[in-house]
């Protein structure tokens, strides 16, 4: 990964955030967060319930502003009132239950909505909506339907299409697999992977499934009680099973299997996190 300063796209400096300040319910959600994100990274943010993941990503497009510290997106301070629409254009944020945000009469109109708000000329709008719909796997029939007539998985695609049609440089997703079945999840993650591979956007996502994180993310950030406690490559983070377990997190099941085999077969590499890598490792040793 190119971690040149010129390649830095989001920078959080000493960010603190407290909910319900000055009330008996006040809760410190983020505590001195320092993070840099670079162009074309694929980052997963993981952490137990209440660790601050959702609060953190809502800082990335200025939806929440830090109490202390600053968040810079492409060098722009998110506290600057004049740049809010610029910020929302650069950073596309997909909420956990994005499917509940659909509101238009048809799916087509829902996806088009943001383009109208941004004064994109009518002749360009149609092509962009159709291209985006195709990318996320929505059919012409889906586009003509009311959002309420779509299945859960289709609604999620429609909601994501509404963000992607605006061509954000940075795509931020809060638990994209929530409410999706396994097949829907596989399809969605392969759409995200394509966007990333084609260098269309930088991806930052919050995820609960360690198996998905291990399969897709290049960089993993672990939050605990509003602090960054781990930040590294997949191998660096999942290599540290003890620390992850102590934080209430898990490692992929195949990794646990390899660890158990390693006890009696020390030659086995247990720093593998996907079924296909584990398969290759076992075959390699069986052939010896």
């Amino acid at each position: 990964m190119n971690t040149d300063e010129t390649n830095r796209i989001i920078s959080l400096k000493q960010v603190c955030y407290t909910y319900a300040k000055n009330t008996p319910f006040s809760k410190k959600a983020l505590d001195d967060i320092n993070l840099d994100f670079y162009s074309n990274e694929y980052t997963a943010i993981i952490g137990a319930t209440g660790s601050g993941k959702s609060t953190l990503i809502q800082h990335m497009n200025g939806l929440l502003k830090p109490d202390i510290g600053e968040v810079l997106v492409d060098g722009i301070d998110t506290k600057d009132k004049k740049v809010q629409s610029d910020l929302r254009r650069k950073v596309g944020l997909v909420f956990q239950y994005a499917q509940y945000q659909l509101f238009e009469e048809t799916v087509y109109k829902d996806i088009e909505f943001g383009l109208i708000k941004r004064n994109v000329p009518e002749d360009q709008r149609k092509q962009r909506v159709l291209d985006t719909a195709k990318m996320v796997g929505l059919t012409q029939e889906n586009l003509n339907a009311s959002p309420y007539d779509l299945s859960g998985g289709q609604k999620k695609r429609a909601a994501i299409a509404g963000i992607l049609v605006l061509k954000p440089e940075i795509l931020v997703l809060d638990e994209p697999a929530a409410g999706l079945d396994p097949e829907g999840t596989r399809e969605l993650f392969s759409i995200i992977q394509n966007l990333h591979d084609n260098k269309e956007c930088t991806v930052i996502l919050v995820a609960h499934s360690m198996e998905l994180v291990a399969q897709y993310a290049k960089r993993i950030i672990v939050l605990h009680d509003g602090k960054v406690v781990m930040d590294g490559t997949r191998d660096e983070v999942f290599g540290n099973v003890e620390q992850l377990t102590s934080l209430g997190l898990d490692v992929p099941e195949v990794t646990k299997i390899l660890k158990k085999i390693k006890i009696s077969h020390p030659e086995i590499n247990d720093k593998l996190y996907t079924v296909s890598d584990a398969k290759e490792e076992i075959i390699k040793h069986l052939k010896k």
Binding site: G179, L180, P182, K256, I268, V275
Partner: protein
Amino acid sequence: MIEVKDIYYAYKTQPETTQAVSGISLSVSKGMYIAILGRNGSGKSTLARMLNALILPDSGDIFVLGMNSKEKKNELSIRKKIGMIFQDPDNQIVGTRVLEDVAFGPENLGYEREKIIKSVDNALNQIGIYDLKERAVHTLSGGQKQRVAIAGVLAMKPSCIILDESTSMLDPKGQAELLAVTEKLNKEEGISIINITHNMDEAKYADVVYVMHKGTITLSGTPKEVFTNVDEMIEAGLDVPQSTRLLYELKKEGIKIENLTIEEDETADILGRLLQ
């Protein structure tokens, strides 16, 4: 306790009708823990709604404790016996405080005050949320709200509780809390549980798993019997444990593996022996 005999159901919306359930038969005995797995749109929620007489089959019959759901006079007794927990915790809470919400069912059954108080307290204790009794519902987490919903159902003394994707909007902690409660009610109170889900981890602990695909049941059996049919599971848009997947992939490569398993330890043992 529940007998489902060759039921069919179609949603008749203009211009077309959608066949949601096509020829399902199954039976649930007292005290069983059942999981029904299937993708979004496989017909599993339609089946759930038929089980407590919210909708009636177009053909075929459902008997709950011998009562046919098609007979109007049985409707209330069936709903009393079969409690239902839905997906969205915010859509099924009616009270502003936990206490009021849980009391809603018994109040509507016309119980006396003393009996209402007692059944609410019992339900809250059984679920282990007595300490939340006075709390305003909107201050609770999703997992807590779903447990309040279960307490509300429990106060009606059901024989069976259906969870219709009840964990799909919860985070892993909330999921674990809810599942622990259902297992406890199943083991200690003998209440039958039907968990409708697409999360395979929840199905691993069931006595019997049914897989639904396009309105029919395509697989059924113990979790092990079901999950080791890897091709059929993927075909149904579902997943299998990584343990099973790993053994299956190795077997496909021509490696001599006799039986697939769904357990992590067993998988490590099988592979350890191969490597000797």
